[in-house]
Amino acid sequence: MAEKPTLREDQQLLDLEPLGQIGSEASASGGQLTRRTFLSGLGAAGLVASAGPLSAAAAPMGQAEGAAGAHTVLTVNGEQHDLGMLDTRVTLLDALRERLYLTGTKKGCDHGQCGACTVHVDGRRVNSCLTLAVMVSGKEITTIEGLGVPGRLHPMQAAFVEHDGYQCGYCTSGQIMSAVALLKEPVGPSDHDVKEGMAGNICRCGAYPNIVAAFQQVRNHSTMNG
């Protein structure tokens, strides 16, 4: 007999919760990001990590997956996850999504062509689908879940809400992770420069103009105040 399928606790919550306006930074501050909200947004990463919303207990991981295994410990959003002897074929993307249930990071192509899977490894943006999980054992990985949560958005997340920097939302995690990393890269001031910097993240809904506007707002506020 099959086990009765059940949702994870947080999924059940979401499934029962209707969509409502979850107090966003964007509406609260009218998009006027102060240095304080900017910093508190960044601070959210720590909070989420310690809240540790997901447990890996149910994952079919570790023993005898049929290929070479390697002991893999991933540090994601500040929290360590021991994945045991992990199948070395597992990409960072699939480790996040299918083993740690951090499904905020999306798979759009699995070939490094779309950017939907962008995460930070030691502060730099990478395509997690082109990264084997074993390669980043011991490195600092940040995913969209580590950036901010509803009600306590990172300034880039808030700016995406304010500027409608998405439609379907599927490329959005990758766009935001890319944009946050781009803030620290040497990118010129014009919209054109930003477009080039974001060229690796495809949005089939075509929300590009609003994505660029969101990026520019965050950058201008953070340099102005900091």
Partner: protein, 749 residues
């Protein structure tokens, strides 16, 4: 004045730009899409694809795959559960491919699923899928991209006057053939199904633009009662038409899950996205325009043909916008289908109209050149005052104003007509334009609105938000009707256990849901006021409900300020109720007496600037002005985003997109996102969107027509027109290629 009079509308939230209510979920990775669902003990399925385009499976050896670590099951034609077809032309239960997976051993197209491997992990299933050995006998595949040699029947689509005679007699003629290539929808979210059985009922977590249809169709395919199928799509990573109807992988996941008695996830990969889940078919269209020397159309003939699969006859419908856009006394439209060994086509954003308008508006541009007339002037001269295909008046048509407004915003007056005559910053400029149109539809919808004892108002409807902002539109109506802030409004969509709503397709979701939500909200308020009147202890006990009203969440006497009233949840609690709920319904537009005898369409105009650098043969779309007559716009912020996104897609259609089938194998040879080019961030032009915002009251009280497709219509022909203006090269086969541009005689900027 603190007093408020009875407002039909509590706020001006309808028609106001609001941030999407699901924004915080989408920006934090919290929104759950189909492939994000996980269950304990879930197994992973990976399909095996055919490596030939035409033939038969002679032998399928799954032994090696079966014995690989973690493998639980290999399904194929030889051991598949019985699956059924759906009733043909039953529009409430439609599948994309008529043939259920593994029905026979015949191969109809490259990539067709021939087996599916299920294993404990995705990696194990992927490895084992590669180990399934299949031997085929091949038959010659029909893969020619030339549809011009078609010799079969050409059934009539529309007919008036005598187009042949009028064309022969016309002093000015255009007679050209236009080709639009196969295109792939390529939403960033790949299709996926997570299937989980409980007894003899199944829940399918789906990437669906129509959960209700998906339920009806899958019940038929699986041969189980409809009530045993639940389909859930909480969030959808867009679809553009590709996710309207179930594809074979949904049945594969359901069967695998039933066999194993375990939840199964099947995620289509990007290669399969090009072969197994639809595409816009290759279309070839001959246009013959006859006109007077002063530019009045005398005749129009369109003969179109599109390719289809061997399994299904899918008519792209390129005549969609041809018959009513312009005034022309003689008109003939014919259609034809050419079977090819490709996967089944499916509607893609603006099906029919978008390729049809590429051809028609390109032909109009050529006519303007032949007449030595401004293309704007040519359109205005041929504006139609009624739908000449059926004699009906338009419910609301402002094409002329779209064109005039667009021309003014674009600065069209500065245009000099000669090819290559305009320059800026060392580049040649090309300015082009085209008209756009798309039908307006409204389909049945039911919705339940409830005032809850916890002070919230909720709505439930089994439609889904494809990404356009449907969640937020529901919330806007509830806010308008109750005066509650978004924080106290809950919207539940995307689950077939709720009242049945429309598909998200054809730009009709908004127009279809609005009347249902609005009428449900009105009845729920009415019941609330009756409860206020009849509940013992209520301050309004015995007060005529007609003298009461709900403002900002409070029930109060009409004419008194809202603050003198009582929060509605207090009254619900006094009456010892958990909630007061009511259902609302939308009727289909074709059953609505208000819309009877009217021709319902949206209109638009696209103005495009390209920059041409002849020295390095580089072309860029630099600026687009779009004016849309799409009825009333409910949320201008999301609407403008959608139109801009459609324009971006139009840049791809004009300059980049084409699915190329290998003529030897039938494999989409550029079946990945590096080789199938789509517009990226740097390809994005400056885009200026204007909505005329005339409510179309034939559509319902809000007058919304829907804007999902119209933004893409007309972009590609406007680009081709601008390309001609800059380079002198007339491109009649999309996309515009560098090879085409190298023919330009404009060698210097």
């Amino acid at each position: 004045m603190a007093t408020q009079t009875t407002p039909p509308s509590q706020s001006n939230v309808i028609g106001r730009s609001v941030a999407r209510i699901d924004g915080p979920l989408k920006t934090t990775g919290t929104a759950q899409y189909a492939a994000d669902f996980h269950f304990p003990n879930m197994a992973h399925a990976v399909p095996v694809q055919s490596t030939i385009a035409s033939g038969r499976i002679e032998k399928l050896d799954a032994a090696a795959a079966q014995s690989m670590p973690g493998v639980l099951l290999v399904l194929h034609h030889g051991n598949m559960d019985k699956l059924y077809r759906v009733v043909p032309n039953d529009f409430s239960a439609t599948t994309s491919e008529a043939r259920p997976p593994f029905e026979d051993r015949t191969i109809y197209y490259w990539g067709q699923y021939v087996a599916v491997v299920v294993a404990e992990t995705l990696e194990q299933a992927t490895a084992a899928a590669a180990a399934v050995k299949v031997e085929y006998s091949q038959t010659p595949a029909k893969l020619s991209t030339n549809l011009g040699d078609y010799a079969g029947k050409r059934p009539s689509v529309s007919q008036r006057g005598d187009a042949e005679k009028a064309f022969a007699a016309a002093p000015i003629k255009v007679d050209q053939t236009y080709v639009t290539p196969a295109e792939t929808h390529n939403p960033i979210e790949m299709h996926a199904t997570v299937a989980a059985w409980e007894g003899d009922s199944v829940t399918l977590y789906e990437t669906s633009q129509g959960v209700v249809n998906h339920r009806y169709a899958m019940a038929q395919v699986l041969g189980i009662p409809r009530e045993n199928v639940t389909v859930v799509t909480r969030f959808l990573g867009s679809g553009f038409g590709g996710k309207l109807f179930p594809w074979p992988h949904s049945a594969l996941a359901a069967v695998a899950s039933r066999r194993l008695q375990r939840p199964v996830k099947l995620s289509v990969n990007r290669t399969m996205m090009f072969s197994n889940v639809g595409h816009r078919p290759l279309c070839e269209q001959r246009f013959q325009l006859g006109a007077t020397t002063d530019g009045k159309l005398l005749s129009l003939r369109q003969d179109y043909i599109n390719h289809t699969s061997l399994i299904d006859d899918i008519d792209e419908g390129c005549g969609e916008a041809t018959t009513y856009l312009y005034s022309v006394p003689s008109l003939t439209v014919t259609r034809a289908l050419a079977q090819r060994n490709v996967g089944t086509p499916s509607p893609m954003r603006g099906p029919g109209a978008v390729p049809g308008l590429f051809a028609m508006e390109s032909a109009m541009d050529e006519l303007a050149v032949a007449l030595n007339m401004d293309p704007v002037e040519l359109r205005l001269r041929n504006d139609a005052t009624k739908d000449e295909s059926n004699g009906q008046p338009f419910s609301s048509r402002h094409l002329k104003e779209c064109i005039e407004t667009g021309a003014a915003k674009f600065g069209w007056k500065q245009r000099t007509p000669a090819v290559g005559s305009m320059r800026r910053d060392g580049r040649v400029l090309g300015w082009g334009m085209a008209a756009a149109s798309w039908g307006a539809y409204r389909f049945p919808c039911a919705a339940t609105v409830a005032l809850e004892v916890d002070g919230r108002v909720t709505v439930r409807c089994a439609t889904q938000d494809v990404g356009t902002g449907t969640y937020t539109i529901f919330a806007q109506v509830l806010q308008e009707k109750t005066g509650l802030p978004f924080e106290r409004i809950g919207v539940h969509l995307g689950d077939t256990s709720m009242p049945e709503g429309p598909m998200s397709g054809g730009s009709w979701a908004t127009a279809s849901v609005l009347p249902a939500v609005s009428s449900a909200a009105d009845s729920v308020v009415k019941t609330l006021l009756q409860v206020a009147n009849s509940t013992a202890g209520s301050p309004f006990a015995g007060v005529d409900p007609a003298k009461l009203q709900l403002t900002a969440g409070r029930v109060h006497q009409a004419g008194e300020p809202a603050e003198t009233g009582v929060p509605f949840e207090k009254l619900i609690a006094m009456a010892r109720l958990s909630r007061i709920s009511a259902d609302g319904n939308t009727t289909a537009i074709f059953e609505d007496p208000k819309a009877k005898g009217l021709s319902l369409h949206s209109f638009g105009a696209q103005f495009v600037e390209v920059e041409w650098e002849p020295q390095i043969a580089r072309l860029r779309v630099s600026r687009v002005v779009t004016v849309i007559d799409g009825g009333r716009i409910i949320n201008p912020k999301a609407a403008a985003n959608q139109i801009k996104g459609a324009v971006v897609m139009g840049v791809g259609m004009g300059l980049l997109e084409q699915t190329v089938y290998d003529p030897r194998t039938g494999q989409p040879i550029n079946g990945n996102m590096a080789d199938y080019l789509m517009a990226t961030c740097p390809d994005t032009p400056e885009i200026d969107v204007t909505f005329l915002d005339y409510p179309d009251l034939a559509m319902g009280e809000y007058g919304a027509r829907g804007i999902g497709e119209i933004g893409l219509a007309g972009v590609a022909p406007a680009i081709a027109s601008a390309v001609y203006h800059a380079t002198g090269v007339r491109v009649r086969t999309l996309p515009v290629r560098i090879e085409d541009l190298l023919q330009s005689r404009i060698r210097e900027a």
